[in-house]
Amino acid sequence: MRLNAWLQDHRRVKKSRDYNFAFINEAAKREIRRKILKAVAIPGYQVPFASPELPVARGWGTGGLQLTLSLIGPEDILKVIDQGCDGSVNAVNIKKFVGQVTGVSTTTDTRQATIIQTRHRIPEEAMTRDQILVLQVPFPEALRTVEPSEAETRRMHGEADYSQMWLYLYEDIVKYGEISIGARYPVTVNGRYIMDPSPIPRWDIPKLHLAETLFLFGAGREKRIYAIPPHTRVEPLEFEDEKFRVEDFPGQACQRCGSSATFLDEIIDEASGARTYLCSDTSHCDKILAQQEEKEVRSCK
């Protein structure tokens, strides 16, 4: 039923506007899908793709947007987040754009969405095998911090010569007593390629390991697609005596929902200098709040 309704609507849209469903033309979509298949077949390997033009400037999530647009069908339900927040400018505009060119419905509920496009966060709620998480990637090359040459990083990936990255971590530990990388923590995918998990905090790294969901990474400006298929080993780089650890927020909890088991944003009030903490994942925060209110209402009755 929904499909029929959409087709009618789409014909109307097509008549009135001069672009294809989901904006990108079918040939370009097919190219992106082929590259996605290759990326899934070689977990963690960066597949070059054409990265066609969009009415969005490169560097504003065009990589993720192209993946979303080439995957989305009329039945899909889309959620877009930026730094965990459903309501920030980038997320709202991407959601609006995709809604306009496809007519799909959007949601803020992680559980409901079939495709989630995100920047810098993975939702707190565990995702299922029926969902796809699309990440916007600014710098796809994990080795760029240690090697400026693209030809050289390709050789390093080809020969699995990752000693430079390990040396970088060694130096970090020697200098600062611990690894100082906050976001973009390098991970080994399926025991082979070192991959940049896009700027997600260390908090989200364990969610990539043996997950149910397909993770797709798109870098529009750098023209690379890579993927983590479901049930793939994703291990952060760590030494035997210096283990990887996620961020901790000792004694802190979200000001709104009181949760202390989520990734918290620190908010500093400029006038008073007071620090407060809020959940980074706003829809998850809303959900917990709603549950609490429901409980209160029930207990009042």
Partner: protein
């Protein structure tokens, strides 16, 4: 016991030609023509048809004038450059094999390995000290990190172990352990050279290449570095190739010597013999021109 007299490295007709090259390059260059530039195609024959054998725990010297191809030979052996021709065989039967790394077979020409295998062999069995420490060290990375890099390549993932080994090696090369976390760019030339030696020794190499290690250092530092190399060589029974244009270094360190000119080996034999009774006119010139 017989095994000890098998060569650890056999080199046959090792050749490196810069430029296009033609079939006659090797015929029209060499000491008898007083040039290493091919008159037909203009290619430079940096080293041509160099053959020799290297035996376990021996120190072999390569001596010759500037541009004679000494460094080219060791850098070809260390896989810094791709060769234009020749064969290298590595007889690892005499060597305790690291179970993690699959080393090439005795009858496998090392020059036919792919770059991954070459790198593995280099990290498992070879060490190199360059004349210019900038080539061998990362100047912005701490000295400990420089040494740890080789250990990481060998598969070590334990910070404590790596730091312990780095400190040991720095102590051996007479660098104060307090300077473990200082980058080599803060160090003097002689100290850099000693950090390089520590780095080259970190993976317990079977063969160590020393490319003009003492050139550019003042005499007292030269003496210390040479002493150190001699001491480490006898302690670890290292097989070493020493490249130098300084006959003093060759006399002090090596037991066997090859003399090179215009990319060819003109004479080889026991160091004493070469220096006391040179046969080739060029060697005679070299020995007589010593200060």
């Amino acid at each position: 016991m017989m095994q000890q007299w098998q060569p650890v490295l056999t080199i046959k007709d090792l050749t490196k030609i810069y430029g296009g090259g033609c079939p006659r390059c090797l015929e029209v260059t060499g000491p008898e023509f007083e040039t290493n530039i091919c008159c037909h195609c203009g290619a430079v024959v940096a080293c041509g048809q160099v053959s020799f054998e290297l035996y376990p725990a021996e120190v072999l010297g390569i001596v010759g004038e500037s541009g004679s191809g000494k460094s080219t030979v060791v850098r070809l052996l260390y896989f810094d450059y791709d060769s234009s021709g020749g064969e290298i065989y590595f007889h690892n039967a005499a060597v305790s094999a690291n179970p993690q790394v699959k080393l090439p077979q005795t009858d496998e020409n090392l020059l036919t390995l792919n770059s991954f295998q070459k790198r593995q062999l280099r990290h498992a069995c070879l060490g190199m000290v360059y004349q210019n420490p900038h080539l061998g060290l990362r100047m912005a990375v701490s000295s400990g990190g420089n040494i740890a890099e080789r250990l990481i390549m060998a598969g070590c993932r334990h910070i404590g172990q790596m730091r312990g080994r780095s400190a040991d090696l720095l102590a051996k090369t007479e660098i104060p352990v307090q300077r473990l976390d200082e980058p080599p760019r803060n160090f003097s030339g002689g100290m850099r050279q000693r950090v390089q030696i520590a780095k080259a020794l970190s993976n317990n190499p079977v063969i160590l290449f020393l490319d003009e290690v003492t050139t550019g250092l003042d005499l007292s530092v030269q003496a210390r570095v040479l002493d150190l190399i001699r001491q480490l060589q006898s302690e670890f029974h290292l097989t070493v190739i020493v490249v130098s244009h300084d006959l003093g270094v060759i006399r002090l360190l090596t037991s066997r010597t090859m003399v090179m000119k215009c990319g060819r080996v003109v004479e080889s034999g026991l160091t004493d013999q070469i220096l006391e009774d040179p046969q080739h006119p060029y060697t005679q010139l070299l020995v007589s021109s010593q200060l």
